[in-house]
């Protein structure tokens, strides 16, 4: 090594200073570019989903004056039995014929009847069940329009002609007539939030799937959080460091990366075939998802326990606390925020899972809203999958709307994870 004079050193530094600055800039630019790419992808995804799905919150509805005619209904009092047999579709057909008296032919009438949803008679039944005094009287009721009508009037906005599809010229004429008088308009789609699945898009809702997700997650949380935390405490605070605990640790890390369908197969073999639990039940779904989320929760809980400084343990020990007292009085409260964050992230992951549920029968058509953990149910992502696969045009926007609901639940969960951490976190 030769001794360099100060000027020589400076010369050398100055020589590649510019290129070092350049690479620095380039690196920073790359970072910004990758973030910009990510943001762009999110914006495109969200605008596509919201653009497609926002329409689903409004539903074409038709206003009709119905007469609860005892003769047409075929009943003279309102009770459970008569409501089952009453001819409500007759009443609606009569109302449609009165609205369009010029329609006479048999096939024309058939077409006229398809203006309103095939679920309309049940809307009417529910109204009469609630207000029995309406029997024999008339009232004005809004009915959900058929999905073909709904798709047609929603497409009118984009082009003058609109998507006719299966709508004939005659039917389009009726629709325009109703639109002009304001008897047909888009109203807020409450059905979407109160109903279970349906084959008729205008009667399909996410309530059953949302409740199914809720029950499944409840079971998952109730099982995976205590088990995961207990396992983490034992492994971190009690277990000796030997070959066995190393093996367990490697296995837990491995399980966290196992494809989720494997847990579904396991669930089918153990919970359904061996323990004979019912198919399609949130209980089994929750058990399977517990297996799936346990590794995540154990790993994050262990990390949270590790982050508690040893000085706290030593101080408590020094004061004469037993090991259990040290853990439950001092370490656990301090590690809780980290554990809760891990649990919520695990839950969010479980909420978006469909693959393991296929094997245990939760990829299913569920109309009745489940009332407990053993009722047949499905979950939100499965509902999205099933609607995305349906031929009816009106399901496209419902698919996107369901995605919006799922995303908002996820955002809510993740936001609460951040909030909890902020609130409970302590720094040393």
């Amino acid at each position: 090594m030769t001794n360099l004079t100060q000027t020589q050193v400076r010369e050398r530094i100055e020589k590649n200073l510019a290129s070092r600055h350049r690479t620095e800039k380039l690196f920073r630019g790359l970072g910004i570019a990758s973030i910009a790419f990510g943001v762009l992808a999110v914006v495109i995804l969200f605008s596509d989903i919201i653009g497609k799905g926002s329409g689903a919150f409004m539903q074409a509805s038709i206003q009709l004056e119905v007469h609860y005619d005892t003769e047409v209904l075929g009943i003279d009092q309102v009770d459970d039995e008569s409501l089952t047999w009453a001819n409500f579709s007759g009443v609606i057909r009569q109302a449609l014929r009165e609205r369009f008296p010029s329609v006479t032919g048999r096939s024309d009438k058939r077409e006229l009847y398809t203006l309103v949803s095939s679920g309309a008679p049940f809307t009417l039944r529910d109204r009469l069940a609630e207000n029995p005094e309406l029997l024999g009287k008339s009232e004005v009721v809004w009915f959900a329009a058929d999905d073909d009508v709904d798709t047609f009037i929603k497409s009118l906005k984009d082009s003058k002609e609109g998507f006719r599809g299966r709508t004939s010229d005659q039917k389009a004429g009726w629709i325009e007539q109703l639109l002009e008088t304001g008897e047909l308009k888009k109203r807020f789609n409450t059905i979407f939030f109160t109903n279970g699945d349906s084959r008729e898009p205008e009667q399909a809702g996410i309530r059953a799937a949302l409740m199914g997700s809720l029950f499944t997650l409840l079971v998952t949380l109730a099982l995976s959080f205590p088990i995961g935390v207990a396992a983490a405490i034992y492994l971190e605070e009690y277990a000796p460091k030997n070959r066995w605990t190393d093996l367990i640790e490697v296995n837990i890390n491995n399980l966290a990366a196992v494809p989720s369908i494997v847990f579904g197969l396991l669930g089918l073999a153990i919970f359904i075939n061996f323990f004979e639990l019912p198919r399609s039940a949130p209980l089994v779904g929750g058990l399977v998802l517990t297996l799936m989320t346990l590794p995540t929760i154990i790993i994050s809980s262990r990390a949270a326990l590790k982050a508690v400084p040893p000085s706290i343990r030593e101080a408590a020990m020094g004061m004469g606390a037993s090991r259990m007292q040290v853990v439950f009085h001092h370490v656990l409260p301090l590690a809780m925020p980290g554990m809760l964050t891990g649990a919520i992230i695990g839950m969010a992951q479980a909420l978006g899972e469909t693959a393991p549920l296929l094997m245990i029968g939760m990829v299913a058509f569920i109309v009745d809203v489940p009332g407990g953990v053993t009722d047949p149910a499905t979950v939100l992502p499965v509902q999205i999958f099933l609607w995305a696969d349906s031929p009816e045009r009106a399901f496209v926007e419902r698919t996107s709307a369901a995605i919006m609901v799922l995303l908002s639940v996820l955002i809510l969960m993740n936001a609460s994870a951040v909030m909890l951490r902020k609130k409970l976190e302590r720094r040393w």
Binding site: R110, A222, P278, S280, F365, I366, T374, D389, P391
Partner: protein, 350 residues
Amino acid sequence: MNKQILATSLAALTLATSQVAMAARDYISVVGSSTVYPFTTTVAERFSRATQFKTPVVESTGTGGGMKLFCQGVGESTADVTGASRRIKQSELEMCKGNGVDVVEVQIGYDGIVLANAKKATPFKLTRKDIFLALAKEVPNPNGSETLVANPYKTWKDVNPALPNTKIEVLGPPPTSGTRDAFAELAMEGGCKKFGWIKAMKKKDKSAYKAICHNVREDGAYVEAGENDNLIVNKLVANPNALGIFGFSFLDQNADKVQGSLIEDQAPTFDSIADQSYPVSRPLFIYVKKAHADVVPGIKQFLAEFTNERAWGDEGYLADKGMIPLPTEKRQKIATDVRKMNALSNLAAK
């Protein structure tokens, strides 16, 4: 705090399991084909509204997966009904019998398979032979000798001079799909049989014959586009040169975006599929577990609803959903057979 959580979760679990032990299944469990799923679910919904029974739970598992679940045995945890977009296979029937399951077969209607392209492109006029030559893995040597060569055709014009000079690009379902099976059997095998010497092979070497007629080329001309037919429709709109394979109901619902190709001069319409003049249509079935018919409440009524004219008739609500009804006499015969609940003994019985 932790102890409390543990105690409550334990309590919840014991409560839940005791509930399970008490409840016998009071709803019908249906599994099976995703093609039959829209129709079974429609009937399930109407059935539960018209009666006091709970809505049947309908799972979409695919035809093969459904058969496995269905043939597992008799008992509460097994399915009562399975939907199939093809007839039950002999091996599946034997598996069912081996597990003590007697099945009742009900044909419910037809489904047409269409080859469609974007509305803005010119419609195709194909024959089954064109389809076979364009999509098979190995085709008869173009020089006329009775040998097979790896599919040399690049454009539709190569296959048939009357067709446009565009690259062969067909989007279709993956091999796990029932639609793909049916397409291979009806469209490709239909074209394959036009070659006398291949047809003659059927008697001698059935598996070689099947391999020639059913194997789809893997050099990129046939693109596996997944099970989602809506996705295929969207891809066709984006790529006017491509053709797509999917069920008739998707064509019906997207008539503004795509058009069906004519096959043997027949356009895929409701009527041409119903009267069997459109050649690529397949029967749809449901299979019912005989032993469950008197145990699980509502199975007989569910079948009665399915085989009611208002459901599967010419103007029934299943026709609105895109299912092609059976001819009237056939419907009447099946409806009477269903009431008798005769178990299927072997496949030749039909």
